[in-house]
Subunit: 293 residues, 2 copies
């Protein structure tokens, strides 16, 4: 029998991911807070469910892709949540980036009803979601991952089992520390370069191939230089992830001075109206702060 | 007539560079504070000079590769320095990383004697020096660079004219901001990863190919994970370069909070006895600071 898939959360990422599963001919049931976003999928054969519980009734595997911890908590254990329609053997795969500690609690609550949960946050952005080239970081039982791997392979090219429940989320947070502090490195370097009169494009060209090189420099550096702040990844979302990083670090009593600094400067960027700009708009704050007047 | 080359400063980098020019059959005159380091080159046909002035007498182009600003100042304008044996048309190429403002002053002083100077700091480390694969960032007149380019091509694969005098040094400092703050990103990310119980090698593998990826992560991350602190690039030298960054930033009245933070943490690393370790030993400080006890 074919695996029936449910998909909850049809934002930019989720919509593309659900769309790929529909293309792959999986029987698909979808739910989203705003129904209209589901219409293109319903027109192509997806079944609409009026709440997560109804998704659970029609699915063997439920994928979730929403914004934050409370969203996933509501979907799992809220009224008309997945738990209210509990069926042993159901598998829940959460692609959202949420608090690792919350993930572990939800996973334990679901396990009480013989439902398995994997945390499986992704990186690769809207382009990766569209093309099925996401990197998927998975926490939870390896045997459960083995079962859903054919589905995940429709969504991503790199699927890594990181360890037990929560380790997918933790690995994603490690990634967000790297992304944001490396972004800061690029912002300060290009600020110094511009203020000292260097040609930014030439400077990026010279440094990108060496020990100072990074994805952030090669990809976001030229956008900073050009003043192009259109979002690849939005500052508001980066801030949500950095909040998770710092909360998670506090729970483990870990001090992260550089990530904290970047979090504060992103707050200044939000205050200056850059919340919906791409993370490269951090450059505007670093540049202004470098020589206020 | 063949270009006669002088080489001053036969440390790890300079020795390999001078050696490559000897291989390329340039008539070579060398000087170094400690003569014994020159012996292998003298045995292969290099002429020994007892001071920079004597190097100048026997050279059309003088390359310099020493540690810090005062070293270059002494070589150029000290007793028995290049200026004391001034000959119009001489070209001085300084591969050291020194203060951009000092470079401009030295270049102006030499110009008064019709001697041209290029600032041409390098990146690529001892391996790049040995294999002739350095990246060379050049400030000064383009026509002078054209004249010495055949020589520089024996030393590096990427030779970039960054702009007028000082811009080679400024570009190198931009590179050092990138290198050190990106290093910090890796240190905090791996600290968070280890303290939360993640497998470091797996975590590096998952993140290195994405938006958090960098040369620092791919190259130094595994060494941090393995506790291998042998120097590629020594913390003491990184600190010298960060001092130049911050002095230069102060001259332009630019605030660089992240680079300053990393400079302070490297100071803690030096205090803990890691000065002669590689820059990846920053990890030990970040990890200890993260949860002191």
């Amino acid at each position: 029998m074919e695996t029936r898939v449910g998909f909850i959360g049809l934002g930019i990422m989720g919509f593309s991911m659900a769309s790929r599963l529909l293309e792959a001919k999986y029987p698909l049931t979808v739910y989203n807070r705003t129904r209209s976003k589901a219409n293109p999928l319903i027109n192509r054969g997806a079944r609409w469910a009026k709440n997560p519980a109804e998704v659970a009734e029609h699915s063997d595997v439920i994928l979730i892709c929403v914004t934050d911890t409370p969203d996933v908590e509501a979907i799992v254990s809220g009224p008309d949540g997945i738990l209210s329609a509990a069926r042993p053997g159901l598998i829940v795969v959460d692609h959202s980036t949420i608090a690792p500690s919350a993930t572990k609690k939800l996973s334990a609550a679901l396990a009480g009803e013989e439902i398995s949960m994997l945390d499986a946050p992704v990186s690769g952005g809207d382009v990766g979601a569209k093309n099925g080239t996401l990197a998927i970081m998975v926490g939870g039982e390896k045997e459960i991952l083995d079962k859903v791997e054919p589905i995940l392979k429709r969504l991503g090219t790199t699927i890594t089992h990181c360890g037990p429940s929560g380790t997918g989320q933790l690995t994603k947070l490690v990634n967000q520390i790297l992304v944001s502090v490396t972004n800061m490195a690029v912002c300060e370097a290009l600020t110094f370069a511009r203020k000292s009169g260097l040609d930014l494009e030439k400077t990026i060209g010279v440094t990108a191939g060496g020990a100072g090189g990074s994805w952030q420099l090669a990809t976001l550096g030229p956008r900073m230089a050009a003043g192009d702040f259109r979002p690849g990844f939005m500052i508001n979302l980066q801030q949500k992830d950095l909040r998770l990083v710092l909360q998670s670090a506090e729970e483990c009593k870990i001090s992260l001075p550089a990530a904290s600094l970047v979090h504060q400067l992103f707050t200044a960027a939000q205050a200056a109206g850059h919340g919906k700009d791409g993370t490269q708009a951090l450059f505007t704050v670093v540049e202004k702060l470098a020589s206020l007047h």
